[in-house]
């Protein structure tokens, strides 16, 4: 056990997801929510997972936490390696010990996840004592520390508050405090600032970076906002219709996107630093996940579509590990000595 764990900690890849596939069985048919998603999060990294609604980004997050609702089917051929341990094969009792201590998650709507009739301090104490066998007063000290960690002054007062007495930004901080209370290696933050005002959003994003710097916590930031990715993340995965379409360093992906979908997304996004007299609007809609089209899933909306797109493109990777799911990337990948995936 000790040999194994030391071998694990040498591994820079904290999280390694391979070919994660999730379907939902519904009345209308099988929804292919996540299709062979592979991603890596290294220790102390902030990685963005960005996509429009229905892209499957939140499903990936829930799957990492093993919190998918009944009716979800994960393909057993996939792997979620966290510290070398495959979470898809872990029993529920064991998962409860991993959840919170190694991997934790925060959600978009704090009010749904905080108990409205319990003081927030008690809720943090409860989370800590669920995972660590320590006394109430020790847990209380840890909880106060957790509240200070998310840059709240007057932790005592907040400890005694009920969720409804706090502003939206404060509630989100409390959720993050709970997630951090057992010092996990990885926090999955699902849309942590979506319902918040920009000035509060700015504080929360700065805080996430500070937490990474101080505790070395890796963060998988799930968002629909490319601006948040630009401000916060080191690397980014772009999802579309359940698939990873592009991956790379944020500086490269957002300035020189290789995948036409990322390019279209960037061109249609509005920004305060630029006036666009011609607004670029991507035609059409995200394909139905029940009845997926053949070939490239973006083909019908793609401004660069050509005859090869009738066959589904694999995720081409170049030597640096940047990836694009597009036939146009094939040449780049080969020229740079990159990896041509199996089945290409």
């Amino acid at each position: 056990m000790t040999d194994q764990s030391s071998a694990r900690s040498r591994d820079a890849d904290l999280l390694h997801v391979r070919d994660l596939t999730v379907d939902f069985v519904t009345r209308d048919g099988v929804v292919h929510a996540v299709d062979q998603v592979s991603l890596v999060v290294r220790r102390g990294e902030i990685v963005g997972l960005v996509g429009e609604s229905g892209s499957g980004k939140s499903t990936v997050g829930l799957s990492l936490m093993r919190l998918l609702p009944p009716g979800a089917r994960e393909d057993p051929r996939g792997q979620i390696l966290l510290d070398g341990q495959d979470l898809l094969k872990v029993r529920p009792a064991q998962m409860r010990r991993i959840r919170g201590r190694v991997i934790a998650m925060t959600f978009q709507d704090p009010m749904t996840f905080l108990n409205p009739v319990v003081r927030v301090g008690e809720q943090i104490v409860e989370a800590i004592r669920e995972h660590q066998h320590i006394s109430r007063s020790d847990a209380r000290d840890l909880a106060l520390q957790a509240i200070s960690d998310v840059l709240i002054t007057e932790p005592d007062r907040i400890f005694r508050s009920f969720p409804f007495q706090l502003s939206g930004g404060m509630r989100q901080r409390i959720l993050i405090a709970i997630a951090l209370s057992c010092r996990p290696s990885l926090v999955v933050a699902d849309e942590p600032t979506t319902a918040l005002d920009v000035t509060v959003q700015r504080e929360i994003l700065d805080m996430l970076r500070l937490i990474r710097d101080r505790f070395g916590t890796a963060i998988l930031l799930i968002t629909h906002d490319l601006g948040i990715v630009a401000e916060t993340c080191d690397r980014v995965y772009v999802m579309y219709a359940g698939q990873i379409f592009e991956h790379g360093r944020v500086e490269r992906v957002l300035t020189h996107p290789r995948n036409p979908y990322t390019g279209a997304l960037l061109r249609s996004a509005q920004s305060i630093d630029e006036y666009r007299s011609e607004l670029y609007a991507l035609a059409g809609n995200v394909p139905s996940l029940v009845d997926l089209p053949s070939g490239c899933l973006f083909r019908e909306r793609c401004p660069a579509a050509f005859d090869r797109c009738v066959a589904p493109p694999p995720l081409f990777a170049d030597r640096l590990g940047d990836m694009s799911r597009c036939w146009l990337a094939e040449g780049d990948a080969m020229a740079s000595g990159g990896r041509i995936p199996d089945g290409a």
Partner: protein, 408 residues
Amino acid sequence: MALDSAPTALVSTNGLTKRFPVSGRGLFERQRWVHAVDNVSLKIFQGRTLALVGESGSGKTTLGQMIAGLLEPSGGSVEFGGVDLVNSKGEARRQLRRDLQFIFQDPFSSLNPRHTIRTILSRPFEVHTVLGRTAIDSEVTQLLNLVGLGNSATLLNRHPHQFSGGQRQRIVFARAIALRPRFIVADEPVSSLDMSVKAQLLTLLRTFQGELGLTYLFVTHELAVVRTIAQDVAVMYLGRVVERAPTTAVFDQPLHPYTVALLGATPLLDPVVARSRKHLPLVGPLPSSITPPSGCHFHTRCPFARDVCATKRPPLRALGERQIACHFVGDSDFPLTANLPRGLVETARASAESYAPASTSGLVTSAQLTSPTRSAVPDSGVQECVGNVGEQIRRDHDQRDEPEEAEN
């Protein structure tokens, strides 16, 4: 009225005020009020778009609803094309309802789920015109074409739930322009939509403006959208307008400290610029609008506040082509007007290093913020609302301002 300059004001408000009573007072307590909109005088120019921006609780939605005639003001007046909107009655009111339309944020609750699209889009014609069934049908088909939904007859017999969020919002737009209004108040019309769909609908709004000569009041919290859609901006803070100016002026060089903070907090798409630019951290939490701060409402959070700010309300003063409510903006020794010859964003882009140090201007970069010494950083405390039901109501009210991400 409105004889000032070249652009004529289609809508003007004069000292518009709205306060809501706070429920839950005790028998001997004084009635308390939420001051949602406090003495706002604005002009909206013919054929242009005024964006009303602010964070939740700023009163932007309340102001928009009063201007649209959906909410009775507590004080002040709204004039629409020379007609007093608040006190209009009978036929004048009826005509106003044709000329003035409202678009809500949520396309799920603004369309009756039990009606077909035909019923929904026919209604304006049935109420306001004498057209017969066939004439109405052809109008409706034409509307669907205008908003880019095509003219298939089968569409007309569908119900709202059979459409996506973006398509539903197109139907809402179609209903709004059905009677060829002159003025539309749009409250966060694209906030709940995905990026690519958002661009489609903004394009549509711009097209309508060009083709139908529409004037818009565009209420939003998304500053990025403002640059695309609006020629003028009014920034609100706790019920008051703090800066009003042409959009390019505000975005190139925001002058009111709150506008500077707001723009600095808005994410940029260029990672390099985003991480090197300066921004102005606000001090402390947003005050309650039941007991707003004295003097300038912003003084409790303003890094530049001086004594006078706590005692005297700054008037909306003209500074070139803009109006600003700040005692010091325009003074040569005021950091925001003295040290910033160009926009924050552009300064940051040109060179992050050559720019004046943070100490004098009160501006910091993200990098400085994430360093362990965090002295300059505001504490964002709890909102003062312990046991305060009114605050809760206000916030619930404002929930409607918030973007809603359709979940996966």
